[in-house]
């Protein structure tokens, strides 16, 4: 392998990319608009949850409870009768239906400890769980405030000092924007290298290269380094300008360490791009393949939901995917401020997986290249 050839071919790739307006637009959008919207669009856990109340008491206390649900957490409650409750829930109109029984206030004051029934549409996972917690505490609070003048306040003997580390206010912008960067690195690394290969192949340029004193290894390495550099640079810019600058997300750890990790990861991801580029016959086919590959990488790698809530065999299989290790590395460094002493195993895994992917892609590329000419 001659370094000069690899260098010149790679420069050519970057120049070609620079003249491809669609790809450039994709890169720019992926690292600005998409990051921004991912940071901003993640809704708070409970937003505008629809709640209906069957008020069979019509007392001061029940009116107080009705009045305690308001935006942004809840939509203003709709007062319905008992018969409507089931139908509305079947049609998915309400996530919560609160049923205040008759004589509720009287029973509370008499210390009979009456029960309010809360119906939750548990098919709406996003609202059901947190929402019911909110409602319970709101109702208890209202009842407690109401009865306070009749009973003395009880102070629990053990206090719980609960602190959230790394993201004290549980700001979802922090999470959403940084995780989106990881998604975009994966997506672009695969799409750019795959497309660079297919573009050359569709125009018969691969055979053109092969009659020159250039080897398949040089062609492949040149694509990997050039597209890797493009993604790495845009990722660095996006992290500093968009995430830290514009969205004002504090990064705990070392950005250079994260970028080193990204570099190692890109080695594996671009090799995967080459591999898919040899599998697809045309750009649209690459598009379809990328969709089928990218989604599992993004959704099952732990970047979207925690790995431990997936079935064990899925967790195990996903250990073979570079994205899993990259997500662990990125979360450690960027969110928790972990140093190299803590994330070095991820570097090792990424290196090993990268070498494996690279070798497989090279074998496949050498084989496929003879059918491309």
């Amino acid at each position: 392998m001659r370094i000069k050839n690899v260098y010149h071919l790679g420069v050519k790739e970057i120049r070609s990319l620079g003249r491809d307006p669609i790809m450039m637009a994709l890169i720019v959008f992926a690292f600005t608009g998409a990051i921004f919207s991912a940071g901003k669009a993640v809704p708070e856990t409970l937003q505008n949850a629809p709640i209906a109340i069957v008020d069979e008491d019509r007392s001061a206390l029940s009116a107080r409870i009705v009045g305690s649900f308001y935006p942004p957490h809840f939509l203003p409650p709709i007062i319905i009768n008992h018969a409507e409750m089931d139908e509305r829930m079947d049609r998915g109109l309400d996530t919560f239906a609160l049923n205040v029984p008759p004589e509720f206030q009287r029973d509370v004051l008499a210390g009979r400890r009456p029960t309010i029934q809360l119906n939750v549409d548990a098919t709406r996972m996003s609202q059901a769980f947190t929402g019911s917690g909110y409602i319970q505490s709101i109702v208890s609070q209202e009842v407690q405030d109401f009865v306070q003048r009749y009973r003395e306040y009880y102070r629990p003997p053990v206090d719980l000092a609960l602190r959230i580390r790394f993201n004290p206010n549980l700001n979802k912008t922090w999470f959403g924007s940084v995780m989106k960067i990881i998604d975009q690195v994966t997506m672009l690394a695969i799409v750019l290298t795959g497309a660079a290969l297919i573009r050359e192949r569709e125009r018969g340029l691969i055979e053109h290269l092969l009659v020159m004193p250039v080897t398949p290894l040089e062609i492949m390495v040149s694509k990997i380094w050039s597209m890797g550099v493009v993604v790495l640079v845009s990722c660095a810019l996006s992290l500093t300008l968009v995430v830290q600058g514009f969205l004002k997300v504090p990064i705990q750890g070392s950005v250079p360490l994260f970028l080193c990790g990204t570099g190692v990861y890109l080695f594996a991801a671009t090799a995967l791009g080459i591999f898919l580029g040899t599998m697809a016959r045309s750009m649209p086919q690459l598009g379809l393949l990328v969709m089928l590959i990218l989604l599992p990488l993004q959704m099952l790698s732990g970047g979207m939901t925690p790995r431990e809530s997936m079935p064990e065999w899925v967790q195990f299989v996903m250990l073979g995917a570079p994205t899993t290790h990259f997500v662990i590395l990125a979360q450690g460094v960027l969110y928790r401020g972990a140093g190299f002493n803590l994330v070095w195993p991820q570097f090792v895994y990424l290196g090993i997986i990268g070498m494996a992917f690279f070798s497989i892609a090279l074998v496949r590329f050498r084989k496929a290249i003879s059918t491309m000419v």
Partner: protein, 931 residues
């Protein structure tokens, strides 16, 4: 064909014109394709449009056939205005249009028979009549033995014959052929014209409009329209053109017709004789053979090429020229036989030999994103020209090939002739001793071609460069020192052009070539020719008789049949495209699998560790509370804060708990104590759930303790809230996700595939069949939709099976209602794909555009995550009109809520309304003509 030229020209004027073109201009963005063209074409003749590529021939033909929309001017065809849609509908079954490009309007994965059958069905023949017609046509064209071969695997000549079959299936009165013989070998070309002649003899009133770049061919036509740069140079019979310019051949006559400035510097090519001293052999091939599977592309080829020789390879597309050249350059390994370059055996690994060879592949492989200068410099660097020599080398090339004015332009912006010279410059940048040129002159006008040859001759005679060139132009072969005639992988003869002609005893090289070809394919062609002649005598009358048998069926049954034949063709094509088919069948299953496991809102198996500074029964009792919970997993105890920090930073622990010293003692004494808890906030959603778990467990512990130790119930509040999680009592993510994911998947994949199926035709060019056949837009779209509707439903059943069997999500409600909903919903999603296809041009745009346009509203505004009633403004509006909203209610209702038809029927209404709306929009936006 009429042999008397004077007679021809008179009749051309006196006969009733079949086509009248007046004042027609056409522009593609800024480029003027046609410039005020006025022309009358009379019936019953072969009329040729002649001129090089890009002069407007194809545009004019597309306008006349009605495939392209007229911008300025008027064209009357068969007695009516072609701009009038009603007239087009009336006459389209009398016109046949065969677009440019080998097999451009054919379906390459369909067999010969299936192709012809499809076109026949569009014209509404009965099955028997159609089969009879197909067998007559396939016999006539000699395609019968290949009836089951896919169109994509036919040779160029056979593809064109198949195209002709498809065009002739409905007995047209006007046959429009756009460069039907480009890239076809001379014998097939001759057979093609003989076929046309026979058909014309049978149907004397049929007119044929042909575009061609071969002037030899044009000499046989009745009437010629010479075009250049969007304008008509002259019209008249071939002899008229030659007489007027005083040129001995039509080729030269045409060059003389061209404007002065283009012809500037053009002179007749003179080839200096090669010195006859024997020179060293540069290329030698011995029994070179290449198989692709059972297909023999190159069959025992032998030749020797000496230094400074111009050696020509003559043959049709697909005869093995390119493959042989690729073997010699080391791009392909030979299956058998050997080849030597510069006396050394060809070795793909040998980079040294590559440095001595220049190669120009078909279609000028240049980097279109790099400027002329950058292209040259890159190639110089890759050939390891020393860096300090590069600028000088590049500027010498630029000067020599006349590229000065283009130095900073991008290749795509240059005229074809300039691009061709750049391509040659690129191949020569490293000063090779051998040049291998694969059809370097295809599509270039005669003047540029001659200019190119001057450069080649200079290279050979002055610089002693050996040139190995392939071509399908006979007059170029004539200029070579020696040529090989190639056919079906074999070299038929190899000698000087003069010797070959002499040996065959004919006057022209073309005739000699045809002679060799005929002998090579003897048994095959002449038999079928003879047979065909016989058949024609027998079958001609009946072909005419039943010509109108097709119109007897009712209007609606015809439409239905056309639609079904489109669907059948679409299904056949899909079944032969492995990637799309896999996606169509398994794509949604794979995605559901991923989403079922990936989008989990369950939080469990949380790892926690304790820093217990008390170590009493009370502290252990507190912790027991956590260990007993199914949500938590205990990790080894912590010893200090530093360890706590480290283990949380590494992500090992999600929760850390510190119990202060003297916890038990202080608690017993009633001194307020505090337990410290740290929660990993890296994933906010999870952290929030963890926080509520911890708080819940803490309150529970306090309550238990109060009851247990003090017998008091002070911890209990004045009222309790009893929560009933309905439909999904265990609050399992998967039960909630799966019925929500099904509507998304039934939207995404069917919509993408349907959109692709239409856009693919746009990209490949077979969309022209919609423009010029009686297929209406409604039939076309319904025909496209039907197979994907079927696939969508198959997907639906598989998804339901996956959900109930693998994910164990119970289907509590009415399966029938769910199925009815799915049918309506998949109709909507495929119609959405059609709608998107009407405004996307490339397949890539169709894939990504459909994905974005369907997934975004479906996932965000249709109630999958947040209910539509939570939305406001634009989001709420989209949510209310988007079909996914309604099917989502049906899916969740039927799966989780145990609902039946009576509960859900009012959700079907919006879907029923959406189908005709989406479909109507698609029909309205689809063009029946190219714009």
């Amino acid at each position: 064909m009429n042999s008397d030229p004077s007679h021809t020209s008179i009749s051309a004027l006196t006969r009733e014109p079949i086509v009248r073109v007046s004042g027609v201009s056409l522009k593609y963005r800024e480029i003027r394709a046609l410039d005020d063209v006025t022309l009358d074409l009379s019936s019953g003749q072969i009329i040729g449009l002649i001129g090089p590529d890009g002069v407007g021939k194809s545009s004019l033909m597309a306008l006349i056939s009605g495939a392209r929309q007229i911008q300025i001017g008027k064209i009357e065809v068969l007695g009516g205005d072609i701009a009038d849609a009603g007239h087009r509908r009336k006459i389209c079954s009398r016109i046949a249009f065969m677009p440019q490009g080998l097999g451009k309007n054919l379906y390459s994965t369909l067999s010969v028979y299936e192709n012809v059958n499809f076109f026949g069905q569009l014209f509404g023949y009965s099955r028997d009549e159609l089969n009879r017609r197909i067998s007559v046509l396939l016999e006539k064209t000699g395609l019968e033995p290949f009836a089951n071969r896919p169109a994509g695997k036919l040779s160029g000549g056979m593809k064109q014959k198949l195209g002709l079959c498809c065009a002739l299936i409905h007995d047209p009165d006007l046959l429009i052929l756009d460069e039907p013989t480009t890239g076809v070998d001379p014998l097939s070309r001759r057979q093609f014209w003989e076929l046309i002649d026979r058909i014309r003899a049978e149907r004397p009133l049929m007119s044929v409009l042909v575009a061609t770049a071969y002037m030899e061919e044009a000499e046989r036509f009745d009437w010629l329209v010479a075009m250049y740069d969007g304008r008509i140079l002259d019209v008249g019979s071939p002899s008229y053109h030659m007489e007027k310019t005083g040129a001995p051949s039509l080729e030269e006559a045409f060059i003389k017709l061209m404007p002065e400035e283009i012809r500037d510097g053009h002179r007749e090519i003179k080839i200096p004789r090669r010195s006859s001293d024997s020179a060293p052999v540069i290329i030698e091939a011995k029994d070179l053979t290449k198989h692709f599977g059972d297909f023999v592309a190159v069959d025992r080829v032998n030749f020797r090429i000496e230094r400074a020789e111009i050696f020509g390879f003559l043959g049709s597309n697909g005869c093995g020229k390119t493959t042989t050249m690729k073997i010699l350059t080391g791009l392909l390994p030979a299956s058998e036989g050997q080849a030597w370059l510069f006396g050394q055996q060809v070795d793909a690994q040998d980079l040294e030999t590559r440095r001595r060879v220049g190669y120009m592949s078909q279609g000028f492989s240049l980097y279109s994103e790099l400027s002329v200068y950058q292209n040259l410099a890159l190639h110089a660097r890759l050939f390891q020209v020393p860096e300090n020599e590069i600028p000088g080398r590049v500027s010498r090339m630029i000067e020599r090939f006349g590229l000065q004015r283009a130095i900073n332009s991008l290749p795509d912006s240059l005229p074809l002739g300039v691009r061709q010279r750049l391509s040659l410059a690129v191949a020569l940048i490293h000063e090779p001793e051998l040049l291998i040129l694969d059809e370097p002159t295809s599509g270039v006008d005669p003047v540029a071609r001659d200019h190119f040859w001057e450069l080649l001759i200079k290279l050979s005679r002055v610089d002693n460069v050996t040139i190995f060139i392939s071509t399908h132009f006979i007059n170029e072969a004539q200029r070579c020192d020696r040529i090989s005639l190639m056919h079906a992988g074999q070299v038929l003869v190899s000698d000087t052009p003069a010797a070959i002609t002499e040996r065959e005893g004919v006057s022209k090289l073309e005739e000699a070539f045809i002679g060799y070809l005929e002998r090579a394919t003897n048994s095959h062609y002449s038999d079928s020719d003879r047979e065909a002649d016989k058949n024609m005598m027998n079958l001609t009358p009946s072909l005419e008789d039943e010509a109108d048998g097709r119109n007897q069926k009712s209007f609606w049954s015809l439409r239905l049949r056309r639609m079904l034949s489109l669907s059948r063709r679409e299904s056949l094509e899909l079944s032969r495209d492995p990637v799309s088919l896999t996606l169509a069948i398994f794509g949604s299953l794979i995605l559901m699998f991923i989403m079922g496991y990936g989008i989990s809102m369950d939080v469990e198996d949380l790892r926690f560790a304790v820093l217990d500074r008390d170590q009493t029964i009370t502290s252990h009792n507190y912790l027991l509370n956590l260990v007993g919970s199914r949500y938590f997993i205990q990790r080894p105890e912590l010893t200090d804060y530093e360890e706590l920090d480290k283990r949380m930073e590494s992500g090992e622990l999600s929760v850390a708990i510190e119990i202060p010293p003297n916890f038990g003692r202080d608690l017993g004494r009633g001194i307020p104590v505090q337990i410290g808890v740290w929660v990993d906030g890296a994933m906010p959603q999870r952290a929030e759930t963890v926080r509520s778990y911890i708080q819940g467990l803490h309150v529970q512990w306090l309550a238990d303790r109060a009851t247990h130790e003090q017998g008091s119930d002070v911890m209990n509040s004045s009222a309790t809230v009893e929560t009933r999680f309905r439909y999904n009592p265990d609050v399992k993510s998967i039960v909630s996700m799966v019925p929500g994911v099904i509507p998304i998947l039934l939207l995404l994949i069917p919509a993408i595939l349907t959109a692709l199926s239409v856009v693919r035709e746009k990209e490949l060019g077979s969309i022209v069949n919609l423009y010029v056949t009686p297929v209406s837009r409604l039939e076309f779209l319904l025909g496209k939709q039907l197979p994907y509707l079927g696939l969508g439903m198959a997907n639906f059943f598989m998804l339901v099976a996956l959900a109930t069997i693998v994910f164990r999500v119970p289907l509590k409600g009415s399966f029938l209602t769910l199925t009815i909903g799915a049918l309506l919903y998949v109709s909507c999603s495929t119609a959405m794909g059609l709608l998107i296809s009407t405004f996307t041009k490339s397949q890539v745009a169709a894939v990504f555009g459909t994905a974005v346009l369907t997934i975004m509203p479906a996932a965000q505004f249709s109630g999958m995550i947040d209910p539509v009633s939570s939305l406001q403004g634009g989001g709420a509006f989209i949510g209310k009109i988007y079909p996914t909203t309604y099917f989502l209610v049906i899916s969740r209702g039927a799966f989780s809520k145990g609902l039946v038809f009576g509960d859900l029927y009012h959700m079907l209404g919006p879907l029923i309304i959406a189908i005709p709306v989406l479909f109507g929009l698609s029909v309205g936006l689809l063009r029946k003509q190219e714009k």
